[in-house]
């Protein structure tokens, strides 16, 4: 058993790379450093131990898809499908992430320092103590939190300039569970029909300070500086948005 290993991913196909990861994790390795990652997909998939994987370079699509427990730190940008149907674990991205971040995630945490693409947090869901959580430092594209059925999505807009607002439209379309917390300007027309907007209560502030605190610790921000800003909470107006659609 080795405490830590370094794997050079240069020129290795994802299947081989992931086989190496599986082997290292089954040998009880606690920490893996991946160097020269150039777009290899599915890193972290089929790993079910709380191993720490530090990635230098650009991991490919579906980073941490179906993942169950590892902690992945990316020094670079993540692509599409990061955290797809993730069960548990943590993904920390020191950069941007592509589309459908956290699609259908069922648990775990994702922190993105910069911006994310379309449909971030789509159809995340929660059950009892399993509650996925996503914090995005920058802004997001359209359909943020679409069809959201649970979990927490926090959009900080830290890179918005003075007077600049979020550009995403259709935020929370079809949302029927969970909560979205937003800092930064957003107009009524940018929101989906199924979401309502409210002020934060004591419980919301607690949630925010916990996860913004973690975000700040990961990326070297002052949590208080972020939390001192005004936040809004988006919530699903109905548990059953399409209940009245049908004739029996």
């Amino acid at each position: 058993m080795k405490e830590a290993v370094t794997i050079d991913a240069k020129g290795i196909f994802y299947r081989e790379l992931n086989a190496k990861l599986r082997k290292a994790v089954s040998n009880g390795t606690q920490k893996i450093e991946l160097r020269n990652v150039y777009g290899q997909r599915y890193i972290g998939t089929d790993l079910d131990k709380p191993v720490e994987i530090e990635i230098f370079g650009t991991p490919g699509n579906d980073l941490g898809a179906f993942m169950d427990s590892p902690r992945i730190i990316v020094h670079g940008n993540a692509q599409d499908g990061c955290g797809n149907t993730m069960n548990n674990g943590e993904i920390i991205i020191h950069g941007h992430a592509g589309d459908i971040l956290g699609l259908s995630a069922r648990g775990g945490k994702i922190f993105v320092r910069e911006d994310v693409g379309y449909r971030a947090g789509i159809h995340m869901k929660e059950y009892q103590d399993k509650k996925p959580m996503v914090v995005i430092g920058g802004t997001a594209q359209d359909f943020l939190g679409e069809y959201m059925a649970g979990g927490i999505l926090i959009l900080l807009g830290l890179n918005l300039k003075e007077g600049e607002s979020h550009k995403a439209n259709f935020i929370g379309t079809g949302m029927h569970g969970g909560a979205i917390y937003m800092r930064g300007e957003v107009q009524e027309f940018q929101l989906g029909k199924e979401v309502g907007v409210t002020e934060l209560d004591e419980n919301d502030h607690q949630i925010l300070s916990q996860f913004v605190g973690e975000f700040a610790a990961h990326f070297g921000y002052e949590a208080e500086m972020i939390l001192n800003n005004e936040f809004r909470k988006l919530f699903p107006r109905w548990l059953r948005p399409y209940g009245r659609l049908y004739a029996y």
């Binding site: 599915y42 998939t45 089929d46 579906d62 069960n87 059925a149 548990l239 399409y242 049908y246």
Partner: protein, 499 residues
């Protein structure tokens, strides 16, 4: 608003036979029967009757007859009673008409226009009672060629799944059907050496022990999908579409999401379980490949990955893309495929007959030289072993049955699945009703059905002088068409009977 809908059925009660036992009152879930204690009389609210015949079967004195209300409107071929009633329903509710089960319209059933061959004089038929007959089927990607070395097979094979009988149980989720129904299916599949399919609703802990005979589904809602779920299964199926509602997502209504159902779907009790229309990580064949390989990675390449689509106009081209995307099994669900709930207008008007889809997909994959790379499974209205044999001759590797399996459990196709009030206790999560399917008896009824079909398939094969199902697979010379046009014969790739 007073409804203008007339009763669909007439309830006739023979008072001389009725013993006032109130079985009908207790069995009916649509509140048709009631007992008037003062007058000692049973009464009927016929407007509630859906024609499921639960009361008829359980009436101990056979005092009940349910007849269709003749509804003798003025004869009109265009404005049939069903058309009129649908308009009435929508004018009273303003909603999308929902229904259950498969397309009930009179589209041509091609199975009924295909006939099988048998041996006469020039080659002997085989008597399956005295000679071994093989129905064994292996699902999964087959290699382009095999190499043998001194130690036997050198070629590394992709994962294969062995079926003793080429008939599997189609996807029916826990939530749509009850746990007792799923347990019946799982036990019958295990006993008969075939597979059942979880549908998109997760897998109840009680059923994990049947994992070796389980196909788990990954669909657009990703309900209950986690590593343990993927790893316990024999096959993982990506559901893109369903024959009853091509292009449409699923809404399991909150009323059906009980505490137990919420535990396998892993969503809070009482919320709607919404499966979006598309999978939002799949907008192209390349994206499909990404999910196929994500699941292969997640299961360490130990099991075949199936991809299920509804049979639509471009199925052949799509199927080719699916195979190239890495699908080990492709599933086609035809126009008559069934559902627990779908918009009626979609169910009745979208998709193509499975016979034509199967023939064109099999042709296309052969033309492209990739037919060996995936097994082809079909679903959608398969009624008996004759349909199974014809499907195999047309090119299918195996067949899914859904409706036929439910009929074995008591279903009479009253099409009320979407109401959650199934009087037969099948398509419901109401604990009082789900007890009506006893898994011991359910599993026996399903095993019996598969046993009967297996025996018949062997008879059909023997009659053709074939002793293995493999020799019939894709062998369209064993089929002839009756009453079909040249174009239909051409698409099916079969010759006219007599030629």
């Amino acid at each position: 608003m007073k409804t203008y809908l007339p009763p669909k059925f007439i309830v006739e009660r023979d008072d001389s036979r009725c013993i006032r036992c109130e079985v009908c009152v207790n069995q009916c879930t649509f509140d048709v029967h009631s007992y008037d204690t003062e007058d000692d009389e049973l009464r009927s609210r016929e407007e509630n009757c859906v024609g499921c015949h639960r009361c008829v079967v359980f009436c101990p004195t056979e005092a009940l007859t349910i007849r269709e209300n003749p509804l003798d409107y003025r004869e009109n071929y265009n404005w049939r009673p069903e058309v009129i009633e649908d308009i009435i329903k929508q004018s009273e509710t303003g909603g999308v008409l929902l229904t259950g089960m498969g397309n009930d319209k009179s589209y041509r059933i091609y199975w009924d226009h295909l006939v099988l061959n048998a041996s006469q004089v020039t080659n002997p038929s085989i008597d399956p009672l005295r000679e071994p007959m093989e129905l064994t089927t292996y699902l999964g990607r087959k290699p382009d060629r095999v190499e043998f070395g001194s130690l036997g097979l050198k070629t590394e094979l992709a994962p294969q799944v062995k079926l003793e009988v080429p008939v599997m149980f189609s996807a029916m989720s826990y939530g749509a059907v009850s746990l007792n129904v799923q347990e019946s299916l799982a036990r019958a599949a295990t006993e008969m050496g075939t597979l059942w399919n979880t549908g998109e609703g997760g897998l109840h802990p009680k059923l994990y022990k049947y994992g070796d005979n389980t196909i788990v589904q990954v669909a657009s809602g990703r309900f209950g999908v986690h590593p343990e779920y993927l790893n316990v299964a024999k096959v993982v199926e990506i559901k893109i579409g369903q024959g009853a509602k091509p292009g449409i997502g699923g809404h399991l209504p909150g009323e059906k999401v009980s505490a137990e159902v919420s535990s396998t779907r892993m969503i809070p009790k009482g919320t709607d379980a919404l499966s979006p229309a598309p999978q939002h990580d799949i907008y192209s064949i390349e994206d499909l490949a990404q999910l196929v390989y994500a699941l292969k990675e997640a299961t360490n390449y130990t099991k075949p990955i199936a991809v299920k689509i509804a049979a639509v106009h471009n199925s052949a081209a799509i199927a080719s893309g699916m195979v190239r995307a890495g699908a080990d099994i492709i599933v086609l669900d035809g126009l008559r495929g069934s559902t627990g709930a779908a918009p009626k207008i979609i169910r009745d008007n979208v998709g193509i007959p499975i016979e034509l889809a199967l023939a064109s997909v099999d042709d296309r994959l052969r033309q492209e030289g990739i037919r060996n790379q995936a097994s082809v499974v079909i679903a959608g209205g398969i009624r008996n072993s004759g349909d199974v044999a014809k499907a195999i001759a047309l090119g299918a590797d195996a067949i899914y049955i859904g409706t036929a399996a439910l009929v074995a459990l008591g279903c009479t196709l009253c099409q009320q699945c979407h109401t959650g009030k199934c009087a037969w206790g099948i398509c419901t999560t109401d604990p009082w009703l789900t007890k009506r399917v006893n898994p011991d008896i359910g599993a026996r009824r399903l095993s019996n059905l598969l046993r009967g079909w297996s025996l018949e398939l062997k008879d059909i094969l023997g009659g053709m002088g074939i002793n293995a199902l493999e020799s019939l697979r894709g062998n369209r010379l064993h089929l002839r068409g009756v009453g079909l046009t040249d174009t239909e014969l051409e698409i099916l790739g079969v010759r006219m009977a007599g030629s």
